[in-house]
Symmetry: C2
Subunit: 339 residues, 2 copies
């Protein structure tokens, strides 16, 4: 099964034509892969021009001398002026305002072409996942389950960083890499939403929040579970999180507004006397934080991750990945269980 | 041993005052760490304002609720307008043109303040490494040596990707992460300078180019070695690369111009009938590609990495990290040997 890249470009072309844009320039690896199938080293600076008429052109440095074989329609740039030559012919150039650097943007401004930010347009076709993408996402979740299963219940004595290293090793054993820096936070440190794992040793009786994900091929997983023993208060908070999590999922289906689910989360939290720290969830796909529609469509994939954080007590978050359907959403990560 | 962050900020302040800049805005994690010691999760969007007068201010989203404890002088931003409030008081704002997004830049342009790109000024203090940094870089090289030692001489039958996974696992076993996506290229695929490891199996009699590095604490290593058996032609090319590599290192000392070493590499390559594909080397430190001075100073750390690439034959690169001294440069990675 190979994605239909031409079909994806067709969708993009239709969106661009409506806006009167002649070509789009991006350096976002995920969009370049999505529309053409080209992948390079993650750190390399690569650019793609998508003209409304004709084939996309890849622009790389001479270090990417494999690109001609892997892709074909390639221009090698030595300096920024080689690059500018390529965009000059267009009257209205769309650019990806999230990924193009200010250095390049200021050079583009000097050309006599009209510039339009189109980051949000590039995202639209990516929102609804095709069958290839759903299968890749399921594979990413499958590997993540194996890693969760390996973490075991005996965590006392390890440091958060030891666990993060273990997660990294287990993912690599399955031939995949971490999609993001793991959040592993124990005891009261788990009250910090984006805690960076540190040398703190996990004590007996402490709970551990584990928020991890991998990149399988090009597709990401993003799952959170709570490990370890909970005291009575912790158990109560976890039950509340679980209840809110389940009620959010019960309300996800095609045709529902994202902001209505956000409002639902807020009501559920406040009814129980908790403060909302973050959104209920986000899209997930080629990037860990993928775009999501205002009104959900069948075959969008989202995380649902309500979290309760109480200073000097701890943080409790449960995160699953769900597939939007006409009826009840399918919880793709349902089989990931922690004792 | 803890770096003297205040001393680093003093250097930056002097540079900014000379240019008439009141404050600098950056979202580069490495600069933020370098000048303050603050580290967050790698993927998080964080900002720092360095005013010429007063303490640097960290700007984060509410998800970074640990920042107050880890750093102190923190502003939480919900929306871009909260952020703009913080920079408004300055007459002339320096911004990091490599790291600030175009979205933010266009908002800054709407304010009645003067904007100056200062990415290159932020880099200047980072060029010369202090004793803490040199010790961290040596530790990063030490771990990289252990990983090279583990790769073994029997590579036939493994795929390039298997080897990349093995490198990732070995680094994590030592509590460090890869500083960049490993380049592991075998046989004729090694002629592609920035080859992404793939499923190709390494055959008996093929050589393998291994370009890897780790991040130890915050500091990076970047080393390349050639593994495997070479035929007569391969041996000859490797001898040529080695000779050029050694002659470049012989010419590195404080007071020498970077571009003169570049010109030397070009002469050495052309004399032997080879084409130059890339620079002789780059700075290395908090980032894999760290800034380097036009005229080298004592205690700059550079890579030296001449590479010869011949289509349908292969690529041969040797990369070491060297410490600039008054006399002959010290090859920090000298002990990394491959049979």
């Amino acid at each position: 099964m190979r994605p239909d890249f031409a079909k994806r470009r067709k969708k993009l072309k239709n969106l661009l034509e409506k806006k009167g844009i002649d070509a789009v320039l991006t350096s976002n690896h995920e969009d370049i892969y999505y529309y053409t199938g080209y992948t390079g080293l993650r750190e390399d600076r690569i650019f793609m021009i998508f003209p409304v008429e004709g084939e996309p052109k890849l622009i790389v440095t001479p270090l990417e001398n494999e690109a001609e074989i892997k892709y074909g329609n390639v221009v090698f740039m030595d300096e920024i002026k080689d690059f500018l030559e390529e965009v000059k012919p267009f009257k209205t150039l769309g650019y990806d305002e999230k990924y193009i650097s200010v250095i390049l943007f200021r050079e583009l401004e000097k050309l006599s072409i009209k510039l339009e930010p189109v980051g949000k347009i590039l995202e639209i076709p990516r929102m609804i996942k095709d069958s290839y993408e759903i299968s890749q996402l399921k594979s990413a979740i499958g590997v993540t389950k194996k890693v969760f299963d390996k973490l075991g219940s005996e965590l006392a004595g390890k440091s958060e960083k030891d666990m993060a290293d273990q997660v990294g090793i287990e993912f690599r054993k399955h031939g995949v890499t971490e999609a993001f820096e793991s959040i592993i936070s124990s005891g009261i440190q788990s009250a910090f939403v984006h805690h960076k794992p540190n040398e703190k040793t996990i004590k007996r009786g402490e709970h551990v929040l584990v928020d991890i994900g991998c990149r399988f091929g090009m597709y990401c997983s993003d799952i959170t579970r709570i490990f370890g023993r909970l005291d009575r208060r912790g158990r109560k908070i976890c039950e509340d999180v679980r209840e809110i999590h389940d009620m959010i999922i019960d309300n996800i289906r095609s045709g529902v507004r994202y902001e209505d689910i956000e409002a639902l989360q807020k009501r559920l939290f406040e009814r129980k006397g908790y403060k909302v720290f973050h959104n209920f969830g986000h899209g997930v796909g080629l990037s860990v934080h993928d775009p999501v529609s205002n009104i959900l469509n069948v075959n969008e994939v989202l995380t649902v991750e309500p979290g309760i954080y109480i200073k000097n007590v701890g943080g409790f978050r449960i995160e699953d990945m769900v597939l939007v359907k006409k009826g009840k959403a399918e919880v793709l990560s349902e089989s990931i269980k922690v004792d």
